[in-house]
């Protein structure tokens, strides 16, 4: 107890809006987290690390991703001009690779030989397995049994890349349970192992680190839009599960008050039903998965099972910085239902010839609603976080179409 006064004088790192974030994780992992924190803060200012990161993003991941003017959607919706930030065109087909390259480089610098990761839809698992293959590292992926069943194609892709995929059978067998299992694995073996956290969640420094590596999305879109339109967007829209593509899409605009930031959550069967994953709209403050943030939980603090058609948004919490942006009113968070997302999946395919991930289609559905209410001289930048090949079979099933797989 002697240290209390001393402690009060030390600012705790990774706290957003004086409330969210922090470190709430077993002691077994704390020394390792300290190492990650130190390495991250040293390396991000290191020119050699930056050169290596830039080289991989450019020559391996296919960055910068396109900022595409969606002419057909713009004309059809008859309001704001719509630009799509095409993270679906990255190598491995989603924004996840940006963060994985960064964290895996960090792991390499820390001398780690083995990468572990959780995955929901499988995009983060595929990205991690990909980089592990490239770097010659071992890779093990934890994925809820529910998700290994609905995303079989991605399971096979990970195995093809040399990763071992563990179906997680505890709890509700989805993303939250996969994170539990990966944390447990890391607690029992951290000496040679790095946990590549896929979303902007978890204990400090993960939310900050994931944001840093994903902020390439907004840095690029800002420059690209300046080149095309010589202005800032009026609105940036991105889907939010844990919130990694959204925080990356928002990052460079947070200090531009004229830019409205909108995070689109998965409302499942509806925000006001029990079959939802709309954490910010329906959740309350809690402490889970290493962070203080907003969670869908009961009055005793037990974490609720959540639901969304999208395995990537099926998460009962949200990154602490999103909780802070919502509380401070800097960003708005809205819900889109399964039905609306599926409709957007078809809409963007037919309008623009783009099969986008069902996660991203939550953002597209919101654009469909909001663009017509805006004027023609306004601009929306909507992030397409991933491509939708992985979803084709399950959407067909949802629509009652029989596909012989």
């Amino acid at each position: 107890m002697k240290n209390l006064t001393e402690d009060k004088q030390q600012k705790r790192p990774g706290i957003f809006a004086n409330t969210y974030g922090g470190q709430y994780i077993p002691e077994t992992l704390m020394t390792e987290l300290e190492k990650v924190d130190k390495a991250f803060h040293t390396l991000k200012d290191d020119p050699d690390f930056q050169a290596e990161l830039h080289d991989l993003l450019t020559n391996y991941a296919n960055r910068p991703s396109l900022l595409y003017y969606a002419k057909n959607m713009t004309e059809d919706l008859g309001g704001a001009k719509i630009y799509l930030k095409r993270e679906d065109l990255n190598h491995t087909g989603a924004h996840k690779i940006n963060n994985v390259i960064g964290q895996a480089l960090l792991a390499k610098h820390l001398g780690k030989k083995r990468l572990i990761a959780e995955t929901g839809a499988g995009q983060h698992g595929v990205a991690t397995a990909t980089i592990a293959a490239l770097f010659g590292m071992e890779c093990e992926i934890f994925m809820g049994k529910e998700d290994t069943d609905r995303q079989k194609l991605n399971v096979y892709r990970m195995e093809l890349l040399g990763a071992k995929v563990h179906p997680v059978t505890t709890g509700s067998m989805v993303l939250k349970d996969a994170i539990n299992a990966t944390l447990q694995e890391w607690a029992s073996r951290s000496e040679d192992t790095f946990y590549v956290m896929g979303s902007a969640v978890g204990p400090y420094p993960f939310p900050e680190m994931v944001k840093y590596f994903q902020s390439v999305i907004s840095k690029e879109s800002k420059q690209q839009l300046k080149a095309k339109e010589n202005t800032l967007p009026d609105m940036v829209v991105a889907c939010v599960g844990g919130g990694s593509n959204a925080i990356g899409s928002f990052a460079d605009y947070i200090d531009d008050p004229s830019v409205q930031l909108v995070g689109v959550e998965a409302a499942g069967k509806g925000v006001n039903t029990d079959q939802t994953a709309a954490t910010i709209e329906r959740g309350s403050v809690g402490i889970f998965h290493g962070m203080k943030s907003l969670f869908l939980q009961n009055e005793d603090g037990q974490i609720n099972p959540v639901y969304s058609i999208s395995a990537g948004l099926d998460y009962p919490g949200v990154g602490p910085e999103h909780a802070a942006l919502a509380t401070e009113g800097r960003a708005d968070y809205v819900g889109i239902t399964d039905d609306e997302a599926v409709e957007a999946f078809e809409y963007i395919a037919r309008q623009e010839g783009i099969v986008a991930a069902i996660e991203s289609c939550h953002a597209v559905a919101y654009v469909e609603k909001i663009a017509p209410t805006m004027s023609k001289d306004q601009i929306i930048v909507c992030t397409l976080s991933g491509r939708g090949d992985k979803d084709v079979a399950s959407i067909a099933k949802y629509k009652g179409v029989d596909i012989d797989e």
Partner: protein
């Protein structure tokens, strides 16, 4: 501050663990009494959590049985209240932080004081976050029992110096559950802790036989056994209390032998 530290004075402590409401209310109350009668020095009562990230399969399964019985946070307090009519054995809770946070730190600690619960073991609250609850716990005389792990390294000093009640020394990496091998530097780890504090140490995670308990009691001031007891409850269900008491007696004997052998040295 509670009286927990006193228990360890010239005495090797045995600290068994049960999950509240596993498999039901009455059996848990009987189990707490059985543990006390069997010679437990402190009973650790686990509050079930939906996502117990520090726990292995045995305790996860117990949590699920408790949820099937409809456990609420208030049920856990009612169980302790019922047990308090039959035993004054010191009790600590093992709980994930969100349970306490949602109940309200002040309300929760106040309730602990009312029920004579001496301390809280919170596996997902490291040193860095203890300030959230320690001032409130202090107000009600509740100890926040810190954990020190084989990986704690340079963190041992600050954790040990800030500790009260006792220090939970994690025997091995990973999660709770029966083990046959432990971190081989436990002796050095306990010696390092002793260098910084007089607060007693108890070793837990994986200990499940009298022989292991004796070995651990020679290294530290006490030994914690969880999964092995929860496993008895899983197998015997409502008939568990008798078996729990017999097991507790066997551990008590082993731990006392460690104390006696130390005295002879």
């Amino acid at each position: 501050m509670s009286n927990l530290t006193e228990i360890f004075k010239n005495h090797k402590a045995f600290i068994p663990f049960v999950v509240a409401d596993d498999p039901d209310f009455e059996t848990t109350v009987d189990n707490i009494v059985a543990l006390a009668n069997g010679g437990a020095d402190i009973v650790e009562v686990g509050i079930p959590f939906s996502d117990p990230i520090a726990d292995g399969g045995v305790i996860q399964a117990a949590d699920l049985r408790a949820f099937a019985a409809g456990v609420r946070t208030k049920t856990v307090f009612e169980i302790v209240e019922a047990a308090r009519k039959r035993t004054d054995v010191p009790i600590v809770f093992l709980t994930y932080l969100n349970i306490v946070f949602k109940y309200g730190y002040d309300e929760f600690c106040k309730k602990c004081q009312e029920l004579d619960v001496s301390g809280l073991v919170i596996p997902d609250m490291p040193y860095e976050s203890r300030e959230d609850i320690v001032p409130t716990a202090d107000k009600y005389g509740i100890d926040i029992i810190p954990l020190i792990a084989p990986t704690s390294g340079h963190r041992v000093e600050k954790i040990a110096k800030a500790a009260s009640g006792f220090i939970y020394v994690v025997s091995s990496l990973g999660i709770t559950g029966e083990r046959n091998e432990f971190f081989n530097g436990l002796k050095d780890l306990v010696a390092e802790i002793k260098h910084y504090t007089d607060v007693p140490t108890a070793i837990g995670f994986g200990v499940h036989t009298p022989e292991q308990a004796k070995t651990m009691a020679k290294i530290a001031d006490g030994v914690i056994i969880g999964s092995a007891i929860v496993d008895i409850v899983a197998k015997k269900k409502q008939a568990a209390p008798q078996a729990v008491e017999a097991f507790t007696k066997s551990i008590r004997t082993a731990v006392d032998e460690a104390e006696a052998e130390k005295a002879r040295v």
